[in-house]
Structure formats: C-alpha cells, structure tokens
Amino acid sequence: MEKINQQAVQDKINELANKDVYIHLETTNGAYASHFDEEAYNVGAFIRNAHVRYQHGKIISTGGSYRVGLKLDIGWVYAEGVSDFEIDDKDRLLMAGHDREGRLMVALEISETPFSYEADIDE
C-alpha cells in the first residue's frame, strides 16, 4: 500500500460505480484492547462480500487521512480514517488506515469479484 493519491482513488471509485461490486468494510481496535488497558473498550465490525451497486462515490481529504462515501439506491457505505491505498493485481481498490505502529484501524475495499471467504490455504 502507499499513501492515498486522491485522484487515482476517485478515478477508480468512478470506474466501479453502477456496477455490481463486492465490499469489504471493517474497523477494529483489536481483540486485546481491554486486556492491555482495562479502561479501553473492544470494538470492531466487519462485513465481507457485501454485494452492492453504488450510484456514485467520493473521497474527501481531511488533511492526512480521508473519508469515503458510496451512495447506494437505498443507503450508504462509509469509512473514515483511510490513508493508504492499492489497486492490486486483481484490479481491486483496497484502502486502509493504520495507527503509528502500522496496525489496521479501518479498511474499505471494493472489487468486481468476491473477496476470498474460505481459509484459502492454497492461495
């Protein structure tokens, strides 16, 4: 992954609009948050392979990181705090935000083909 190039991401979002796409959306602070700090809360959510079609989408700079919103016919997909991106060898748009130690805090990924859902032992 590299630092987000806003124009490159916007172009890819535009390219994937009005198509059947698969979404991986995730946020996490890890399974050990309240183990290492009793005051902390464990929170996280992910959805893998949400099958959607969005009318349009936009990436907004907040100075350092970005928000992304995708408008569906009957709802929205939203992520805040993404800072890195990659268009991978399967032509998928991968975006993520990491903390200072490189740990993933949020991810939003868009693909025209399903993301792996078995354990992919042979992948």
Partner: protein
C-alpha cells in the same frame, strides 16, 4: 498411550510461538514429535508489519509463510484446520469438536496444548479451547490425551490458582525468540519490547515462563 505425540491446537499463526514455543522446544529436544493444528490463517489480524508490508487481502499468505518458517525453526509439523479468523465462536462447537477429534485420534496425541476456555482473552482462543475439551470428551476414556491449557487473561491466577505445569523456558529462549521473530508481520510490538531496556517488564517475564493447567474430566 502407545506413543508420545504432542499436538498443539491454537487458532492463529504465532499463538504457538508466543504461547508455547519454549515447551515445544523442550519436547523436541527430548525427541517427542510435535504437530501444530492451526485453526485459521490469522487473516483478520490487525498487525500488518511495521512498516506496513501486508494488506487485508495479502495478510494470510504472509502469515502462512511465517508459520512455515517458525515451524522449521521449531522442527514441528503444521496442519491447517481451515477456519476463518475471528469466526470460530460462531461455528457450531460440536462440528469443530468432531473435526478435532478425528485429527487428534489420527495423530494419536498423548498431550494436547491449547488455550484455557474463558481465560484466553481472544474469542478464537476461547472457542477453540472449548472445542478441544469437547473433542477429547467425545473420545473413549482410555484414548484421551492430557489437555494442557494456556491461560492469558489478567485474572487467571486469581480465579484458577497455580498452574499445574510451569516451565522456565529461559534455556530455550534463543529458540523461542527465533520462532517469534519468524512471524515478521506480527512480532514487531513484542520485539521492540524485548529489545527495550525494560528487561524486567512483566510481559517479558511472562514470555520466559510457560504455564499450563491440566484439564480434569472428573472435576
């Protein structure tokens, strides 16, 4: 039991190195075969290397390679159980237990090392540990291996008392460190702790002593 075979059952690539690699080394030096049944590929881990070199879609490939390297360091066999990271507690426990029972029987395990359900912090740890107990319960009494359970949570000794097996793994520290270091994408936080001046830190001391509670079916 006809032979000795230690079977380690944890959900993630690196659980074996952080939690039991000193004990694993001890068994290997005594000539006892060790097999690691790894529940998932750790594909939902949040550590991506530091600096970041993995992403959500490539992490599983890195972690599989890392576990293969750690297994080479520890001279153990690895089998993957094929579940998905973070989802073990949502699978039917009896299904996982039957799956585990088949593998445990086929490997003729004499000792199983797993997590202590309810005291293992990560939901995958708790779920797989519970499934191991259930798997062994399904076996004929005379075929049952011992279950050694690794407790992690801060309250474990208060609730459970002193562990039954306590190994000072300082003599195997080099092997343990090499195994942990093989997990490049995951080990950074722990490695910086180890390299720091704070040699007395509680977490480092915990790594140097491996403790296990033996499960008893009669209690």
């Amino acid at each position: 039991m006809s032979k000795n075979h230690v079977v380690v059952i944890f959900p993630h690539p690196d659980d074996e190195s952080f939690g039991a690699s000193g004990t694993i080394t001890k068994f290997r030096k005594e000539g006892t075969p060790v097999t690691y049944l790894c529940g998932t590929l750790g594909e939902m881990g949040r550590n991506m290397g530091n600096p970041v070199f993995a992403n959500r879609e490539t992490l599983s490939t890195f972690r599989k390679d890392e576990l293969n390297e750690a297994a080479k360091q520890l001279d153990i066999d690895v089998e993957y159980l094929g579940y998905r990271d973070k989802t073990l507690e949502f699978e039917p426990r009896e299904q996982i237990a039957k799956h585990l029972k088949d593998r445990i029987s086929a490997l003729e395990a004499s000792v199983i090392i797993t997590h202590y359900p309810g005291y293992a912090v990560h939901p995958d740890h708790d779920a797989l540990g519970a499934a191991v107990v259930e798997a062994v319960r399904l076996m004929d009494e005379q075929d049952r291996p011992e279950i050694w359970m690794h407790a992690i949570s801060n309250d474990s000794e208060k609730d459970l008392g002193q562990p039954d097996v306590v190994y000072d793994v300082t003599p195997f520290w080099d092997e343990k460190l090499a195994a942990i270091q093989a997990h490049l994408s995951q080990a950074d936080g722990m490695m910086s702790l180890i390299k720091s001046q704070d040699q007395q830190s509680e977490q480092l001391e915990r790594l140097k002593t491996e403790r296990f509670y033996k499960y008893s079916f009669t209690s």
